[in-house]
Structures are given as C-alpha cells and as structure tokens.
C-alpha cells in the first residue's frame, strides 16, 4: 500500500519534452556588439581612474570642529560674564556715589 502511495508519476510527458525542446532552440546566448563592449570597458576604466589631488584634500576631522565650537562657546560665555560683572560694578559705584552725596546733604527739618 505504502509503495503504491509513494510511486512517482512520470512528469516528463511528451508535451513537456516538446516545450523544453522549443525553449532550448529559441533561447540562445546573445553576444553584445563589440563596439558596445569596448566602449563600456573604457567608460568603466575612466570611472575607476584616480581622482584629481584637489578632491583628495581631507576635510578637518570632527574632533577639530568640536574643539573649535567648544572654544567659541567658552569665549562667548566669558565675555557675557565679564559684561555682567562690569554692569554690576558700575551700578554699585553709582549707588555708592548717590549714598555719599546723600550723606553730605544736611537734613532739613520742618520745624
């Protein structure tokens, strides 16, 4: 019984053999034109040629860019802090002057 179930049915029937024969006759390698092959080869070679030196100049590394940016931010912060200190000092000086003037002015009592 098992043998009967596993018995294979021949697939290669006549129509299949005929169709395969037709396909084999119709599908053949096609040679590209010699001109095309030569032109493409030269185009590929040209594309592979080393690039001009100016294109090979390396860009500054990322580390340098990061350092520059950090320095710029630092200087800006320092400047901002300096300006703030100067303003505070000037304000303090003005207040001191006003107090000094106030101390020298006699107080008039309305008697």
């Amino acid at each position: 019984m098992r043998k009967l179930l596993t018995k294979t049915i021949p697939i290669a029937t006549q129509w299949r053999r005929d169709l395969e024969h037709k396909l084999d006759s119709a599908l053949n390698p096609i040679a590209p034109s010699a001109t095309f092959v030569a032109q493409l080869k030269s185009r590929l070679s040209a594309a592979r040629a080393p690039r001009p030196a100016r294109l090979l100049i390396q860009k500054p590394p990322v580390a340098w860019a990061a350092i520059s940016l950090a320095a710029l931010v630092g200087v800006s912060l320092a400047l901002a802090a300096g300006v703030r200190v100067a303003i505070t000092l000037l304000a303090a000086l003005g207040l001191f002057q006003q107090l000094k003037q106030g101390a020298n002015t006699p107080i008039k009592l309305n008697t």
Binding site: L23, A26, K41, L44
Partner: protein
C-alpha cells in the same frame, strides 16, 4: 562551479580576481567584466526585448557592481548570482518606469525589433520561436528569470536556486508550474490566431 554557455567558470580564479577588484584594482574588475558582460547582456536582452535597453541596463549593472564590489562577500553565492540579482533589480525598475510612462505598452512593444542594427547578434528565428519568446516575456519576472537561466545559461536547479535565493526543490516546483503556465498561454495564443 557554475557552467554557462558550455564554458566552465573557474570559481577559485573568480575569488582571486574578486579580492583584487574589491581592493580597487581596475584590471581585476576588467577581467570580471569581460567574463560576465555577455551573460548579463543576454539575460537583460531577453527580459527587455531590445538591444538599446539591454545595452543601457548592462552598463548600469556593471557601474553599480563596480561601485559596490567592496561590499560583496562570498557566502557560498557565486559572483554571477550577485550580478544577476543587480540585473534583475534594474530590469524590474525598468519595467516599473516603463509601465508608469506608458509610452508603449509592454504587450504592444515590438519585440526584438532592432536586431537588424546588430548583425553580429542577430539570430535567425522562425515565426514560431518569436511567438514563443513573446509569450515567455509575458510571464511573471521570476519565471522569465528561471527560463533564461535554465535554457541560456544551462544552470542546474541548485545553481538557479543560488541566483534566485530559493531552495532547489522550490525551483523544481516553480519550473514545472512555469511550463504548465507557458503551455496554457501558448494554447490560448494559438487559439486566438485561428
């Protein structure tokens, strides 16, 4: 080792050349180009049906291969399979773009029309063979690919499986279904002609 067009393709030699090509050796890439240009051209020609597009797409395949050759890794898949996959993708894009443009419908496009401009590539085909090729060209892409690899390249099912990324059994089954489908289409087309 893949056999194609009756020629034996030496795998180890391919490997050596590939290593050099991946390192940027233009001569090595030239060797690979000369080894495979005919096969890729044939494949694309049967998929597109004309020499102009076959030339254009073959150029693109090799330019793309040259740009990405350093990414090719030998994992048991032959270099030819890698090239065929590039070609398959480009042909698929070409069909998609053509169907979008709809300048000439694929079914209406005259097949193998300009063979007279390429006398060295011209094959004397009977009317029956031309009709058969037109029907083959109407098959789904993967079935066309299978037939081209089997009848033009004479690849075995296992080798076709490597190219198409499928098992040998899956290819065997697909091949049988393709033949059945092809027979059906041929019967229909001959019935319509009557």
């Amino acid at each position: 080792m893949l056999k194609a067009n009756g020629n034996v393709n030496h795998g180890p030699a391919d490997k050596e050349v590939l290593n050099d090509a991946a390192l940027g050796d233009p001569t090595a890439f030239g060797v690979l180009y000369e080894r495979y240009v005919g096969r890729i051209y044939t494949y694309i020609y049967y998929r597109t049906g004309n020499h102009n597009d076959a030339e254009d797409l073959t150029s693109r395949v090799f330019f793309r291969a040259m740009r990405h050759i350093h990414t090719y890794q030998d994992r048991g898949i032959p270099f030819s399979a890698w090239l065929y996959r590039i070609a398959h993708n480009l042909v698929a894009n070409w069909h998609r773009d053509n169907s979008r443009r709809q300048e000439v419908g694929l079914e209406d496009a005259p097949l193998y029309e300009n063979e007279r401009h390429y006398p060295e590539a011209t094959l004397l085909r009977s009317e029956e063979q031309t009709g058969l090729l037109e029907v083959v060209r109407q098959l789904p892409a993967e079935r066309q690919q299978l037939l081209i690899l089997k009848f033009v390249e004479h690849y075995s099912n296992a080798e076709i499986g490597l190219v198409m990324g499928r098992s040998e059994g899956a290819i065997k089954s697909l091949y049988h279904r393709t033949l059945l489908n092809l027979r059906e289409r041929l019967e229909k087309s001959s019935f319509q002609e009557m």
